[in-house]
């Protein structure tokens, strides 16, 4: 068994002149929660739908658990539970019947587990789908997906249309899945959710894989903002930490971005005679903004 459950190499999808995904090479390690980030139209859903065999790639290679969807889509989908971004379910069925239908369809389906998840999400399964609100339908789709015991879970914006309490429950379900060794691929626009759950993140921009990031590296990044008392103060850092420091001065304002353990840098910061000092974790937002605007990302 290879350590990577999802592998793509040079994966490209074109619709005529429009390139939805270009030369995407990435991998997802077994047992991790992997985040997909990017603005609308960046290619996240295209990547997911290519993996499931819903779209035919223009070029490149892809596999889940060593299986190419073009060769054996059935075996591949036995290993995946997928929640689409806009999950729609048969409107003529009641919630319970939908759960039963999907539990029967999938060899790893479990109706009891689906009902359990529905209860966690506070969903009334006696209502017909046609009469459910958007949030209720999303909960039902989540109950379908979390009820299936597959090695890989692919969730496309799983918390869309949900209230904050249920969002928290969904993130707990994701972490539960990780705890039992399942792999989760997770696309979301809510950066805090990605920060809270993911081990690694891939940023897509205009159909291209723009950046990859391990969250443990991000947690070691800090931004120090302050005012410099004297103009043209010497901001040069000692050699031992210089490579891990990036300083920007704008008038009296100074912004120092640090990479790695903060402790050895604090004595140098203290020597700078700064005032109104503020230290904050760099956060995913800064990386996202940099990727989104096409700037170089230090990490």
């Amino acid at each position: 068994m290879t350590p990577d459950i999802v592998v793509t190499e040079g994966l490209t999808k074109r619709y005529g002149d429009f390139t939805a995904l270009s030369d995407c090479s990435m991998s997802v390690v077994r047992g991790e929660v992997f985040g997909l980030l990017g603005p609308n139209g960046a290619g996240k859903t295209t990547l997911i739908r290519l993996l499931l065999g819903h779209l035919q790639p223009t070029s490149g290679q892809l596999s889940i658990d060593g299986i190419d969807p073009r060769v054996d889509g059935v075996e591949l989908r036995k290993r995946v539970a997928y929640l689409p971004g806009d999950a729609r379910l048969p409107r003529h069925m009641k919630g319970g019947a939908v759960l039963r239908f999907f539990a029967d369809m999938h060899p790893s389906g479990n109706l009891d587990r689906s009902l359990e998840v529905a209860e966690i999400l506070e969903l009334n399964t006696r209502t017909r789908v046609a009469f459910m609100s958007t949030g209720m339908r999303q909960k039902l789709a989540l109950a379908v997906v979390f009820g299936v015991d597959t090695p890989l879970l692919i969730l496309d914006e799983p918390t869309a249309n949900l209230d904050p309490t249920v969002r928290g429950n969904v993130l707990n379900l994701v972490m539960d899945a990780k705890r039992v060794g399942r792999t989760v691929m997770f696309s979301s626009h809510v950066l805090s959710e990605i920060e809270d759950t993911c081990d690694r993140v891939a940023f897509l921009r205009k159909g291209k894989l723009a950046h990859r990031l391990a969250m443990k590296d991000l947690y070691q990044r800090h931004r120090i903002t302050a005012l410099v008392d004297q103009a043209h103060a010497n901001m040069e850092a000692p050699e031992t930490i210089a490579s891990r420091i990036h300083t920007t001065i704008d008038g009296q304002s100074v912004a120092i971005v640090t990479d790695g353990d903060l402790a050895p840098m604090l004595s140098w910061v203290d020597s700078l005679a700064l005032s109104q000092v503020r230290i904050e974790p760099l956060g995913l937002r800064a990386v996202y903004d940099a990727v989104h605007t096409g700037q170089a990302v230090a990490l």
């Binding site: 499931l52 819903h54 889509g73 806009d86 729609r88 048969p90 029967d104 369809m105 789709a141």
Partner: protein, 326 residues
Amino acid sequence: MISGTLIDRVLIRKYIGQSSLLFLSCGAAMFAFAWVRVWVVSLLDMGQFQTILEQFRDFEKFAPISFDALFTYVGRVGMTYDEPIVILCTVIWCVARGSDVVSGELGRGTLEMILSQPITRKTLLLSHATVSVVGLALLCLCVWAGIGAGVYATTLEESIEQPSFRIPIINIDVPLTTDSPETQTIRLRDRVEVETYASSTFHLFAFGFFLLGLATLLSSMDRYRWRTVGTVVAIYVAQLVMFGLGKAAPTLEWLLSMSFFSCYKPQKMTSMVVSDGLAAPWSVTSIPPDCALPALFYPMILIGLGLSFYIAATIIFTRRDLPAPL
């Protein structure tokens, strides 16, 4: 090795649930109509209309059956298969079910979740086809059963022919009595055998199967159900117009060979059974009068075309990109 089964019982259960209301409505309408239609046959004494119909002999070519057959109970009951209600219900079932399979599910956005399960697209298509084709067969049997119920439940009042004397040379029949004609009550089943309509029922099935295949093919390449339905209906109307024009104008007779309606001959089958026996419509060798091919070839052409449409639909659907839900 590529895994997967040809049909999926869970999907079949879903499709049965989805189509049951339409099936029950069409089935009840077809059964009841066929029964009532047979009963109405018993109410009309077509002999009274014989003189009138003779005036329209020039238009006999537009009728699906010879006028002479209209004066027999067997022929008149057989006309049920050309009644607009029977055709309409068959067309509704076939277009509704055929158009639903891909473009219908795509339009509702439900295909994404279903195809994310471990099934092949072929399995989905064949499971849908199983329910649709079995439903079609049952609807055709509903018509036949309705005719059977009508034939077994209906009695007729028939005049007993009066004794008469024919005057030689001028050949005029003169009744020997002036009493009002005597009537007798007979059972319709003594005049009409229900088995006569087996081949007509098969023709109705073949007609529906062709439409079902056509609707499925168009659905497999589309993403909007309304467009699929519109295209099927447009093709149906165009074929009907071609059939009518081919019948009307000798110069346009070539259009008949391009219309699938030319293969739908339920009443011709009825008259063949009357003249040549129950096995005649199933012959693959003897060519009936006014026909270019043996009788069984006509429904088989429709079934063959329907099968070709299904095969093309499977190939197209398995190769196409699945558009994201709208």
